[in-house]
């Protein structure tokens, strides 16, 4: 199993040019929408439901926004997903030092214990989810309530899924600074 995930990780770390080619496999359903949402618009009903699902942690303030942003960007980095990395939540409360250190968070001293606990889970979510151990989960539970843990874990699964969708469909980046929300654009 380890070799399988290592192979996937190696592919993710491969030439990024394929993933930032800027040419999607098929056309958007609505050119007025950001690329990701325009692609989802091929199924408008599912698009609206997906936005409500994806936006819930922010809309309902279920998880501290700094943790959501850190995990989203770390997972995007593991996927080398330029389209996801082009998005920023300006209200997440992260400073420039923290944003620059996300890729090497394990050796950085600018993250609080709760942030490190969340990043430890995000680190394994894309390729090594079976390797998340009891100690890492227990550490996360020291800082977060059970509802927060569930909402954050679901959010991480969606960050992972979003990267996969963007990469599989070769969606171009839509750089933006936006708060994820069921009622706003989905970049």
């Amino acid at each position: 199993m380890g070799a399988f995930y290592a192979a996937n990780a190696a592919m993710a770390a491969g030439p990024a040019s394929r993933r930032i080619a800027g040419m999607a496999w098929f056309a958007t359903a609505d050119e007025t929408l950001p690329s990701f949402e325009g692609w989802l618009q091929h199924r408008p009903e599912l698009r609206e439901m997906y936005k409500r699902f994806y936006g819930a942690p922010w809309d309902d303030r279920l998880v501290p926004r700094d943790l959501l942003e850190l995990c989203r960007l770390r997972i995007a980095g593991l996927h080398a997903c330029e389209a996801e990395l082009a998005i920023t939540d300006p209200g997440a409360g992260l400073n420039d030092e923290q944003r620059a250190a996300i890729g090497g968070w394990e050796g950085a001293d600018c993250f609080a214990p709760a942030q490190r606990a969340a990043l430890a889970l995000a680190e394994k979510m894309p390729w090594r989810h079976h390797e998340i151990d009891d100690a890492e989960f227990a550490e996360a539970r020291r800082h977060l309530t059970d509802p927060e843990i569930v909402a954050l874990t679901v959010a991480m699964a969606l960050f992972d899924a979003n990267c996969r969708l963007r990469i599989v469909f070769e969606l171009p980046a839509s750089p933006s600074a936006a708060v994820p929300s069921a009622t706003g654009p989905l970049h």
């Binding site: 009903e45 309902d60 151990d133 989960f137 843990i149 569930v150 909402a151």
Partner: protein, 65 residues
């Protein structure tokens, strides 16, 4: 990989399972249920194709559940 559920059930009398753990965050659970139910009950892809993809994805991700 742990064999012990890491998050308790939020539904009294029920053991931890996908639904009872998701119930810790009711807003998330409700919106997931809305999306997933629609995905399976409506759509332009036939049910058989969706089920084949679901089963294959479960095997690839080594999810015995």
């Amino acid at each position: 990989m742990s064999t012990i559920p890491r998050v308790p059930s939020a539904i009294p009398g029920q053991p931890p399972h996908f639904g009872s753990v998701m119930a810790q965050a009711p807003a998330v659970a409700a919106r997931f249920g809305e999306l997933y139910a629609t995905f399976w009950s409506k759509g332009v892809v036939d049910h058989r194709t969706k089920e084949v993809a679901r089963m294959r994805n479960a095997r690839v991700t080594d999810c015995g559940f």
